[in-house]
Symmetry: C2
Subunit: 476 residues, 2 copies
């Protein structure tokens, strides 16, 4: 039976959960629960019986032991910044386990370049602690001021640093997790090489809390770049952006640390709706690229590499205009154009989102075909397609036609998804590049995954979670 | 029942396997089988009923379907270069599936920087094909002229490029595999971001053929460095080597592409037993480091970085002497000292091997403690501990005392393993860093893995391979 149809948690069982924690760490009053039930896009408004706030792995273990015994469905939650409803509870039969009090940075090893952290540590704190140690933790995304590393791991978050450093999965050497039985998976290994059996760590990463609860992790740190250069480039087309990407990779190699693409309309929305935002270029261009080169060697080298790339791009004809950041303030201004682009769509009315990836070389073709299909499906709809060209990952968002009815437009969410995702599938792409599956794409996953893979996934789910208590209704 | 105790494959079933392939591709004569039954260290001498040589994924699928139906145990084999007996069949009940005829490079995508290959392609061919496309496939290891990428993936091979580029797992975007049922897992995705459900790819990678047979892969390619500098450094101790590593990482960042450590005795063995090998330094040193810096920017930059590192190392007191390669021939000579070190131990008699990793910062302590323990256990034994300091991965090999009896010395293999591995475990390390488990370390894995992890591994094995036909007696 879907847990959404189950009766509410009984008062007896609720009391037993409460008794596992110190006073004040089990929330039940509606006003206390509220922040844990809403997600930021407003797509899901949840319900739950309790929110439990453990502060240690042992408390998480005790909670899951009791949940297994009483068959109580649980929903792990980090910073509540997920975009697919994976963290939102669905009924009063469910208990939210909020990880925010597991917030210790357990260890920083500057020689082995690792940091061991609790799952509830906020990403920006991890970035700052790495910086203090003279190192870099390169995971960077819009919600870094409030998302927690446990959620980043559980959703295998992406962000703007993936081009050079990989997804969250690639930034993690080991995880500690509590399994549904309450048993602890002690996988906090600080090893760069460890070939002892099946890769259970990578099953827990990206499982969106459906196989267990990540409670700690060993993260990889990187040498801090000696110099960083940021350029904001105007171009005529995604094809030109791709040519510039190839040029930048050839010149800068692994020192190319960001390559983001933005359309003119996104720049207009951002300038219109973000206080203090301004377009760094004098004339409008059809497309823009935010390009970052970070040199391990020196600031001069980063500058020289950036000059090589931009000069080549002008000569090769793919760049129409470019501005190079002359100060940290400049760099912030440039980055802001990219970072505010998600939010700047809100005041323009309803927006139907896609988080897709295709092979990098096929991005221009994807954009052409998807734009045509959207124009056919909803004439007047305004496509704001931006994101991580270097990873083939585009946030293909569609704003409602000017003056259209928001509710009527948003009612076509699934229909438009199908149109766009069909093109993605045709190109060998993914309809979930970096945001995960959650509630939003669960049916689509089941419908589109090859049956042999769905069977293996279901088998893995049964193996880890025989009573199906972990984050029901999400992912699988 | 362990398949090793099973009766030989029946002639009827053997005929059914033969009928699945064109003539000449099922081998049964002892002289034809022989090369597939021996592994290069001579630790295992196997037996098998048949060797099948499919040349397509469909043929592999047909073989596994029949194997499932007839409950015939199968042993996948690539280049037969594994060091733990994972590829060696164990009885005449077993059928070897040799993947060497699946040898197509299916696609090279220079923009997305990917290469799609069959499992049987030899690693050096992949390196060459990447080079021709102006790109780099950075996996590099001693057996690269004969090992196959399917084996590299199945054992998650390491090698000398891990420091900058990661293990084989990190170099792969997607795999295609045939499951024990004969069903094909179509996972040849060329996507840098794809969060659609559980990470089955990483279960198949590193599973040593116990969950299915990898038949193809999408590999990541990297920009080719513009300049490469190699230095051969003499030092007093592993502590000094660690200081130099930290210095090199701080200066070169991700452009530090190799950092290998070697002891004096290893240099002596190599010079003594390798034709044309010579020590590049005039005076002997207790320890040596092979240091490689590859610049994405330019040859001049690589030179400048190398100068910075070496000057700093001399001033800081951790370097006693250093030679920088002035030509490609020099660089080959330097690398040869490292590459021949495994082989150069053979003429010195028996050698008991360990492939261990510890957190990088703990390598000097590990070496001190292990050397003391070995001296106590087998006085006169000669430790040749070398390898990938940057990854914390040491090939801690122990050559017999001069004049000792080889057979008697090798009889103490397990005893010495236990002594060394106890120290590794104490330091939070792994007794299988990059060579895998195979037959050699299977008992040790079962004995030392936490029961909760062994249970999950067994469950995963049952899920993928309900009839337990895949590479029995290996890993799990």
């Amino acid at each position: 039976m879907d847990t959404i149809d189950r009766p509410p948690l009984s008062p007896d069982v609720a009391d037993r959960f409460r008794a596992l924690l110190p006073p004040g760490r089990a929330l039940a009053a509606p006003e206390d629960l509220a922040p844990f039930l809403r997600e930021e896009r407003g797509l899901y408004e949840g319900e739950a019986a309790l929110v439990l706030r453990p502060s240690s792995v042992e408390e998480v273990s005790a909670i899951l032991r009791l949940a297994s015994e009483t068959r109580t469905p649980v929903v792990p939650q980090g910073g509540n910044t997920g975009l697919v409803g994976g963290q939102t509870p669905r009924s009063r039969s469910e208990v939210v386990i909020a990880l925010g009090l597991l917030d210790r940075i357990r260890d920083v090893d500057p020689v082995g370049r690792t940091m061991t952290v609790d799952a509830g540590v906020v990403l920006s704190r991890i970035q700052a602690a790495a910086d203090e140690a003279g190192l870099l933790f390169p995971l960077s995304l819009g919600s870094e001021g409030s998302c927690q590393i446990g959620g980043n791991l559980s959703s295998n978050a992406g962000g703007t640093g993936v081009l050079a450093y990989g997804n969250t999965r690639d930034l993690c050497l080991g995880v500690e997790a509590v399994l549904p039985s309450g048993e602890i998976f002690h996988g906090l290994r600080r090893l760069k090489k460890d070939n002892r059996g099946y890769d259970i760590r990578n099953l827990l990463i990206g499982a969106e809390g459906t196989l267990g609860i990540v409670t700690g992790a060993v993260l990889k740190l990187f040498p801090k770049p000696a110099g960083r250069e940021v350029a904001y480039v105007g171009l005529a087309s995604p094809d030109d952006a791709l040519r510039l990407l190839k040029r930048a990779e050839a010149a800068a190699g692994t020192q190319l640390t960001a390559f983001e693409i933005m359309p003119r309309i996104g720049i207009e929305f951002t300038v219109r709706h973000t206080q203090g935002a301004r377009d760094p270029l004098a004339e409008p261009h059809a497309w823009y690229v935010l390009l970052e080169i970070s040199s391990g060697g020196s600031a001069a080298e980063a500058r020289a590499l950036m000059e090589t790339v931009l000069e080549g791009g002008f000569e090769g004809g793919e760049i129409e205009d470019a501005a190079v950041a002359r100060s940290i303030a400049d760099a912030r201004t440039f980055w802001r154009m990219r970072e505010e682009m998600s939010w700047a769509q809100k005041p323009e009315g309803g927006s139907i989102k896609h988080d897709v990836s295709v092979p990098v070389a096929l991005v221009p073709r994807f954009l052409r075909e998807a734009d045509e299909a959207v124009a056919r499906t909803i004439p007047g709809a305004r496509v704001v397609s931006f994101g991580h060209l270097g990873d083939g990952n585009i946030h293909y968002n569609v704003s409602q036609p000017v003056g259209a009815d928001k509710v009527a437009f948003l009612a076509r969410w699934r229909e438009l998804n199908e149109v766009v995702h069909a093109i993605v599938a045709d190109l060998g792409g993914s309809f979930s590049a970096e945001h995960g599956i959650g509630q939003l794409k669960r049916d689509e996953l089941a419908r589109t995954k090859p049956p042999v893979e769905m069977e293996l996934m279901r088998g893995i789910k049964r193996l880890f979670d025989p009573y199906q208590i972990m984050n029901p209704g999400k992912l699988i």
